[in-house]
Point group: none
Chain length 219, copies 2
DNA sequence: GAAAAAAAGAGGGTTTTCCCTCTATAAAAA
DNA sequence: TTTTTATAGAGGGAAAACCCTCTTTTTTTC
């Protein structure tokens, strides 16, 4: 029987090392590719054609969601398992939307990851059992096509708005944010107001919650 | 020369494995303790007396900040190096406040972590060079005693404070919270101020972040 | 190149939050 | 029983956030 060819994409070198160690107990696994980010992966995977793509979500350059989207479009047979620190609904559903077939949390036991790889490799889907309960309920209720529904797309924020939002979450005042970004406090205020409207928030608390839920800020 | 006794505290088993692999290249390092969370660490460290504590910040049960605080109070010679995915000023300063002597990001190269351990073990402080520039400036300006200021202890909130915190996260104003809890707006205001002090926050944003991190509010 | 859209900034007023200090009362603790 | 602590409340001032409208500049698009 052929070995299962595995690709690891994660910007944390040490986490990659840990994964390799964890997977080394399985003689039928072979790590054929390691990448620091999505860009690197997309550049190199055609050479080695991995069966399973272990994919971090939060990465510089090209994040896991976009990478998975591009990967599954170019190579529909790619079997992507998302690895994330977060069990936030948004991430999970976006990742499955993008074409992932498995989702495990990074605090999972090595055994669970091995199991997930074997299951996904056999053509099935794998969800970590410690995944968001609400999401699970949704899955049970709507059979399965939950993830291919038109995802009410986020009233996304532009780069400046995101920087400001990040600084708000770091407890900076409007004045301070202006100084940091070399913009007038009045401009920052206008951005805040625009964000309140976009995110349908009443105040700073709402903005912070939104930032965390959408993954703009990671705790 | 004696080996450097190292403790690893992180809820991600795989990350711990990766760390062990990374540190195994140094013959004078010895991993004497591995813990899943702060509670476990505090229970077991007296047996082995590690020299260096590698400490994750985001952990279940007892987070890295509280753990470090308790650890350095009971054992002032403990040399804690924070490991975090975030370079948010807030975390960094809270961690140093709690008594940490080093701070590295989880995407650091193994070489950097080894360097950090050696430096901190020699009695010095270590800051990742990719850490927040603004924080670095603060450090340079005020020499160093920034972080050794009087540390307010146990930021535990009582029931009323928690209800108010929850309502703040639901975007209610002080006045509205007073109406809901049948307390005067002035009382709510006083509670807010007390919570700002307890949680070392500057404003509402900080309170919301705290609420989420401590699990008072679930997203 | 003109029109439209996005980004940056300002004026001015209202509300809310922040930050003191200080009082009163009820419940625990010494 | 006195003292301390927790809880509830108030005054007043300063700062920040909120919320309009409106102008200018830059960038994009037709």
């Amino acid at each position: 029987m052929d070995k299962i060819k595995i690709s690891i994409t994660d910007d944390h070198k040490i986490f990659r090392e840990g994964l390799k160690t964890a997977l080394s107990v399985c003689p039928d696994f072979e790590i054929v590719l390691e990448s620091d980010n999505g860009e690197e992966l997309l550049l190199n995977y055609p050479r080695v054609r991995p069966d399973i793509f272990l994919m971090d979500i939060n990465m510089p350059k090209l994040d896991g969601i976009s990478t998975t989207k591009q990967l599954t479009q170019a190579f529909p047979d790619a079997r992507v398992i998302a690895l994330s620190v977060s069990n936030q609904e948004l991430y999970v559903s976006k990742m499955f939307d993008a074409g992932a077939r498995g989702y495990i949390l990074k605090d999972a036991d090595p055994e669970e990851i091995i199991k997930a790889i074997q299951i996904v490799n056999s053509g099935e889907y794998y969800f970590a059992d410690n995944l968001s309960v609400t999401l699970f309920k949704k899955l049970v209720n709507n059979n399965h096509p939950v993830f291919s529904l038109p995802v009410a797309d986020a009233p996304d924020l532009n780069k400046t708005e995101i920087s400001i939002l990040e600084l708000i979450c770091k407890e900076h005042t409007t004045q301070e944010i202006g100084d940091i970004l070399s913009l007038s406090a009045k401009t920052i205020e206008n951005y805040r107001m625009k964000m309140l409207a976009k995110t349908k928030s009443r105040n700073t608390a709402g903005l912070v919650i939104y930032a965390i839920q959408k993954g703009y800020v990671i705790l």
